[in-house]
Each structure stands twice: as structure tokens, then as C-alpha cells.
Amino acid sequence: MTTTMTASDTDRFVGVFDTFEQALPASGPESLRRQRRQAIERFSHLGFPTLRQEEWRFTNVGPIARTPFSLDVAVDGVTGSSIQAFSYEGTVQLTLVNGRFVPQLSDLDSLPEGIVVCSLGEALEKHPEKVEPHLGRLASFENHPFVALNTAFYGDGVFIWVPRNQVVEEPINLVLVGNPSGDPIAFFPRNLIVSGQSSQVTVVEQYVTVGEGAYLTAPVTEIIAEDNAVVDHYKLQRESTQAFHMATFQLQLGRDSNVSSHSISWGGGLVRNDVNAVLDGQGGEATLNGLYMVEGTQLVDNHMRVDHVAANCDSHELYKGILEGKGRSVFNGRIYVHPGAQKTDAKQTNRNLLISPDALCNSNPQLEIFADDVKCTHGSTVGQLDETAIFYLRSRGIGEEAARSLLTYAFAADIVERIKVGAVRRDLEEFLFRRLPKGDIVRQAV
């Protein structure tokens, strides 16, 4: 096995860029075309990451680099019934298949007045003035090969724009379907969410698989919460274990804004989530929660970076992991307090539950503080189920397996309870009840 990327791995993507670019619609801002070219140049310079790079020390993307992916994707392989399970009653839904918006599988009927929700392609045609100032300005591809690939190759995505003072009550459900067929495919969804001053919106982003086969999805989602906006974001990673998922989630928080992100990850074979939050205006508050579950040979890598640029901002991060089988997880959390970001209150916690002795977890919290009047804490734990608690439950008549499952569920419960969208919470609960042995007893007992 080699971890060194050969030139040809990188060239595979660089080589098809010209063809890809020529096929793009001629419309759209020239600046974004320029951005694509800069991004592919950057990627050709960076290449795929290796284990020698600090940020990729535990996550071997060799299998991605070695796979000859095709960028030619079909969008007609998914029926409404095959994604029924991911729909939420009465909510606006946008469905992307292999990174392309599919109107027939979407439901925009109950869209409130004033708000713009459409495919990125449509947004670039109809509202370039709303898109151009933001797209690609936040998620930097300078040092991130997958953001570079996304910026070069994004085909489509979702654009959400909420005007100032508008409160969107119902969550907006984005269903991003991977639909592999035959040869491995790669696609790069690009989502942009702009929440205007004093607006409020909730977005659910689900990554799912219909069909069999390997594929790479490397999405970038950028969220801009303008002053005093409230944004709740839920990501459910529930793809098949044949999926490679390399995602970047970029948050920009304006003055007095309040953004929460909940990243739930149980699918995918090799998953990387970069979550970057920049607190740019005073009084901003970011809540970043996550729950990851791995089994078999799954690997989930959560890379968090919170930049406290302005003073008087809060950030709270709680990531929890349940590791079974030969599953692996990586947590890397960096809090960066810039000079002048006084009265920062930053808290970061990563807790891991090792169910199996063969599972492996790496947890690495980091603080970099360049202001003197701040409150920053971080902590990380790796533990097993509490045998005393198991015995206590068994001594009351609960079977051993059920007792273990109950405690595993309880470990996850505080993340589950923080999910405010009922449908998402129920999805996660159902998943846990199905995944955990004797889940029907857990269902009764929680």
C-alpha cells in the first residue's frame, strides 16, 4: 500500500477540466469562471492529501485518489418512491441527484413569499447579483484539495436566500442523492445559504444513496448569517458504505447572529467533514454539535475550526462518537481566538464511546489564543460503557444486550435531544433503534 500520490491521480481531474469547463452553460458571471480555473490550478499544485500532512494525518484518502472517477453523471436513475423515506411531510424539498437539481423530485409548493430557494444553476441565471458576492468567497480552496476540486467542478447545488426580517417557519429539506451505476462517479454539490439581517431559517441537508456502487461526493455548503440572523442547520450523512464523502461546511456569522449546526454521520465508508465557523461580528453565537457512528471499517473524520475574530462571541462544540467493529474516527478541533476577540467564550468537547476493542479513535483539540480576556475550554474523552451501570440495569431485569444498547443510546441522547426539527430527531432515533441490538427495548425505555 502506498500513501504517496502519483502524478496521475491528480492528473485524472486536472486532465478533464477543460472539457468540463467547455460544457458549462455560457451564462453566469465571468468571475466565477475565473474562480474555477484558479481552483483547478490550485488543486493541480496541491494534489491529493497524504498522511504526511498534519490535517490528514489519520485519514488516508488513497482509495479516492486511486479510483478513476467519471464526472459524467446521470440524473434519471432515481424515482420519487426510492427517496420517499427522506421526505418530510409538508416541507419544501429540493432534491439533487448526483449533484444536479431534479425538479420532478422536488417540492417547492409551500415556499413562502420573498424567499429565494432554487438550484444554484437557476440562481446564477436569475439572481447573479445575490450569488456572486458570496459564492466561493468563504470556503477557501487555498489549502484544501477537495474544496479546490469542488470549486473547479461544481455542477449544481442549492441556493437559499432569505430576505431581511423574514422568518421561515418550516425547515427546508435538501436531499442529495448519490445514485451510482456501474463505473465510479464523482460529483461536487455546491450550496449557498444567505440568511439576511434578522431573518430566521432552518435547513436540513441529507446525503443519501440510491443504488449500488462506489462514488465520491465532495460538497461544499456555505452559510452566511447576516447580522442578528438565526440559522439552524442539520446534516444527516446516511450514504451507503461504498460512498466517499469529503465535505466542507463553511459558516460566516455576522453581528449578534446565532447559528447552530448539527452534523449526524452514520453512513459513508470514508467521511470527512470540515466545519469552519468564522465569528465576524460582536455578539455572534455558534453551536456546533455532532454525532458520528462507525462500524465495519467506516472512518469518519470531523475537522472543526472556529475563528473568533470579533469580541464577545460564544462558540460551543459538542461532538460525540460511537465506535463499533473496526470503525475509526478522527476529531480535530481548533479554536482560534484572534487578537482583539476579547470576552470570547469558547467551549469544545469531544466524547467517544468505544464499543469494540478493535475500534480506534483519534481526538485532538487545539486552542490558539491571541487575546487575553477570554474563556476557552476544551476536553476530549474516550471511554467504554460503564459496567456498573450495566449491572445495575441487569439487576432490574433488563437483558445484557438491551442494557448495553440502552446505555449506548443514552450516550447519544444529549445530541438527539438538541435536535429541534422533530422529523430529523425521529429519523435519528429510528436509526438508533434499528442499529442497536434489542432496539425495541430501547425504544420502550427512553
Binding site: L393, G397, A445, V446
Partner: protein, 258 residues
């Protein structure tokens, strides 16, 4: 046949022998008290009865309803009617006190060939039991024992006991650290369950509890052995004299045998 028969029980933890030949027989309808100084092995005996695997039984046997108890998993014992109130009840964050109890009760009922209780019936049933131990409704919906005061934890154990309706209840120092009101509640809980079919093994440090729960038999456990068995007056005697007079002088056994 006794409900519980312990014969020559030896148990060790981490290679260290703690129970050194315990003999004890408890009949249905009886309340036995076990008293003894710190570290004499009282909790060890209770934990062995409940099935904690850490304690290794090296010799002897335990028959419960004539069956080999040591062969049974902890949950099987519970389903067969054994309940142990923990000296130090365990806090279990994230697991709701009442829902967990419902799952436990239903596991026991299923084992006994009874129908599972649905949520409505269970709530009615539980409300009734709560009155006995004067449990605060709020404690029902909290995670098991989490943030409970010492007294609340002990009361919660008695509450679990009354819900699960055991045949043999082992109470490990459920009275320790309680004020007199809480102590009376615990005693009332036990007394209200006292019946011809049920038996209790009440482990205590303090004679005071036995003013409220009047035992049929009192045993004194010292250094892993039952050194004295008597009626309820034995407890009063212990209260007066302490344990020293019962402790064998060191090496006495050898002296006698030579």
C-alpha cells in the same frame, strides 16, 4: 425447602477472599437482618446474590427456589424475583427513570408469562407505588438517579422494588445516611410489601432501622463469616456492646485445635 439457601459460600475479588464460608437460609415470609462492621463482606454477599461477575465464587452454593442461583445471569435472577437495592445506587444519565422501569417490569412480566403493561396501565400502577415512598413526580422523568440526593436515591431503590414486586428483596444499607422521615418512608415501603410470599434480607449498619422493620432473624457477619444468629434482641445487644465481643481473638482457632 427454604426460598434461599446459602451453603458454605466462599467468594473472592482480585484474589482476595472476602466471604469465607457463609451459611444462611431464608424462608418465604421472613425478614432477615444482616449486621456487621465495615468491610465485613455484607455488600459482597448482596452483590453475589444479585450476580455481579466481579465476585468470584470459589466454593459453596446458593439455591434459590431450589435452583442453582450461581448459574443464572443477573437479569434472570431479577426476572425470577430477586431484587437488590444498591448501597450506592448508580446514576445513569440519559436513561429515564420511569421508562427504564417500564422496560424492566415488562421484561419480568414477560418472563412470568404475564402480558406486557401498556403505557397507560403502567402509569396508573406507578402512581400508586409512588405514593408509598412519597416519590416526587419530578424524579420519575429524570434520568435514573442523576442528581438525586442521597435520600432520593435510596427512596428510588425502594420505589423500584415496589414496582418490580420481588420475591426476595436484598436491601444493602438502604437506611444509611437517611434522616428519620426518610428512614420511616423506607421502612413503610418494606412493611407494605411484607407478605407470606416474600422474603427480605436487610443489610444494615445501624440497629435503628430494625425499630421500624422488625426482623425475624438477625445475623452478624464478621470477616466473611456469620458469627452469630439470633432474634431481634441480638440487634439491641450489638447496639450496646458493639462487635468486638463477637470477634474471635486472633489465632484462637489454632490454639484450640492444638
Amino acid at each position: 425447602m427454604s426460598l434461599l439457601e446459602i451453603k458454605n459460600l466462599h467468594a473472592q475479588v482480585e484474589e482476595q477472599e472476602i466471604l469465607k464460608g457463609v451459611d444462611l437460609a431464608v424462608n418465604q415470609g421472613e425478614i432477615h437482618a444482616i449486621m456487621g462492621p465495615n468491610g465485613s463482606g455484607k455488600s459482597t454477599l448482596a452483590q453475589v446474590l444479585a450476580g455481579k461477575e466481579e465476585y468470584e465464587v470459589t466454593e459453596g452454593e446458593i439455591l434459590y427456589k431450589g435452583q442453582d442461583l450461581l448459574e443464572m445471569a443477573p437479569e434472570e435472577r431479577a426476572r425470577e424475583g430477586i431484587f437488590m437495592a444498591f448501597q450506592y445506587p448508580v446514576e445513569i444519565p440519559g436513561v429515564s427513570n420511569v421508562y427504564f422501569l417500564k422496560a424492566a417490569l415488562n421484561a419480568i412480566r414477560t418472563h412470568r408469562g404475564l402480558e406486557e403493561m401498556d403505557a397507560m396501565d403502567f402509569l396508573v400502577y406507578v402512581r400508586e407505588k409512588m405514593k408509598v415512598v412519597k416519590m416526587d413526580e419530578a424524579l420519575l422523568n429524570r434520568p435514573v438517579n442523576e442528581g438525586f440526593s442521597g435520600g432520593e436515591k435510596k427512596r428510588n431503590e425502594i420505589f423500584h422494588m415496589s414496582v418490580l414486586d420481588p420475591v426476595l428483596a436484598v436491601l444493602d444499607e438502604t437506611d444509611s445516611g437517611l434522616d428519620i422521615d426518610a428512614l420511616k418512608i423506607v421502612a413503610d415501603g418494606v412493611n407494605s410489601l411484607r407478605s407470606e410470599e416474600r422474603a427480605f434480607l436487610v443489610i444494615t449498619h445501624y440497629q435503628r432501622l430494625l425499630n421500624y422493620i422488625v426482623p425475624d432473624v438477625v445475623h452478624v457477619l464478621i470477616d466473611g463469616r456469620i458469627v452469630r444468629t439470633g432474634g431481634k434482641d441480638l440487634a439491641l445487644e450489638l447496639e450496646d456492646k458493639g462487635y468486638a465481643w463477637l470477634e474471635e481473638p486472633l489465632g484462637a482457632a489454632e490454639t484450640v485445635s492444638t
